[in-house]
């Protein structure tokens, strides 16, 4: 039983990490698009964020899983479910992260941009060197919330038949007619979350060398 749960945990961890690696940078781009002076892009990003936050992640995952076949008749291999899962999580979480980035970016005082402009920084340099590092410190608590939610949201991958930890626990529970796998899985999720909390606290402490 533990080895099955363990292999599930590996998949859970994979979904978690791939989602963060994809959605953290993608969220920045969406936030920038959302704040763009080019109105069509801003509206498009706004609609995207609204849709991603306004429909269940489970439905989004299923749409990615089955959409290509039903809409376009595409025959995708059995590996497709892993792709659908990662892409679905990344697209969904990037929308949440984008709104957090936006609130952080808008909280940076204008004087910071003006000082950078007078010193000759380009817009891109100003954003990467001056604005983004300060934004990260400000949004860390809000990001932490989302990241911890993601730990448990990975269980939604069960709708695609991806054998992550929750799917494994469900299968074992059914075959053994026992609650125990669920209890162990719950403990592992909690442990995972505590680890994430610990890492977040470390980052927060590291960024505490200044306040503004």
């Amino acid at each position: 039983m533990m080895s099955l749960l363990g292999s599930g945990l590996v998949l859970t961890g994979q979904i978690f990490i791939v989602t963060l690696l994809g959605s953290l940078p993608l969220g920045v781009l969406i936030a920038l698009g959302r704040m763009s002076k080019f109105k069509p892009l801003a509206w498009l990003m706004r609609a995207y964020i609204s849709f991603m936050r306004g429909t269940p992640l489970m439905l989004q995952l299923m749409a990615l899983m089955f959409g290509p076949y039903y809409l376009f008749g595409m025959q995708l291999g059995s590996d497709w479910k892993f792709w659908a899962c990662d892409i679905g999580f990344i697209l969904n979480y990037a929308a949440y992260f984008a709104e957090i980035y936006r609130s952080g970016i808008q909280s940076i005082p204008r004087g910071q941009y003006e000082a950078a402009e007078v010193l000759g920084y380009t817009k891109a340099q100003t954003f990467m060197r001056i604005v983004l590092p300060q934004v990260i410190k400000r949004i860390l608590p809000a990001m932490g919330n989302e990241v911890i939610t993601l730990v448990k949201d990975t269980s939604l991958a069960f709708v695609l038949g991806v054998m992550e930890m929750f799917t494994q626990a469900k299968a074992i529970a059914a075959s053994q007619v026992s609650m125990l796998p669920y209890i162990i899985a719950a403990g592992i999720y909690w442990g995972f979350t505590i680890l994430v909390e610990f890492i977040l606290a470390r980052i927060e402490k590291k960024l505490n060398y200044y306040h503004d």
Binding site: G111, E117, V118, L119, G120, I130, Q134, Y210, H211
Partner: protein, 255 residues
Amino acid sequence: MTSENALLSLQHARKSFGETQVLKDISLTVNQGEVLAIIGPSGGGKSTLLRCCTLLETLDGGELSFGDCVVTVDQGGQAIYQGKDALRRARTHFGLVFQNFNLFPHYTVMKNLTDAPVTVQKMPKAEAEAKARKLLARMGLEGKENMVPCELSGGQQQRVAIARALMLDPDVLFFDEPTSALDPELTKGVLKVIRDLAEEHMTMVIVTHEMKFARDVADHVIFMDGGVIVEQGPAADVIDNPQHDRTRAFLLSEE
């Protein structure tokens, strides 16, 4: 006063925010080594004038240039801005010190000074750090290299901001009320640094409420009110012997 080799030349500058005309036909020139002080009541357009000169606001009309680097030309009363490259070049001619410092809070003092030279001007890091150390010593900030701005007093932060601006060797250094956010004790240290710069013939344009300081340090004083230059002349003349009622009233209120 209009001379060919003026470091800063602004002619017939106009600027409105919506319906409010904030700058009405302002002209000034600053030559190498000159210190110009701009005084006047709050809301008179002093900050807007500096912000237009430092390209943080755009002029509606008028001509602005730094030496032979032209920023705007006037066409039928409209200020026509030159291309991006010209503006980037113009920015290398001046520095600006803000009322509230605007240091980068996440950078150490050293990094606040070296980041722009290294990133923007591609100065070698070691060279930038050596230069920064010299400037910090001049500002009385030895040993503060590794502190972050929030660990410094307001006066120290403002001196770091002045050093940061000097790192890029500006031809003209603008100050917008550099001591207004400081209490009197901290003001002294900042004013001393600016006095030292004046003695070294740094070209400066300083908006200030410190009348005694303006009288001592500036060569030329402009009194601005309601978007116009009401009175200007040698510092001692304007401050000790004002000709206009509005200047007199303002100077009395500042005592």
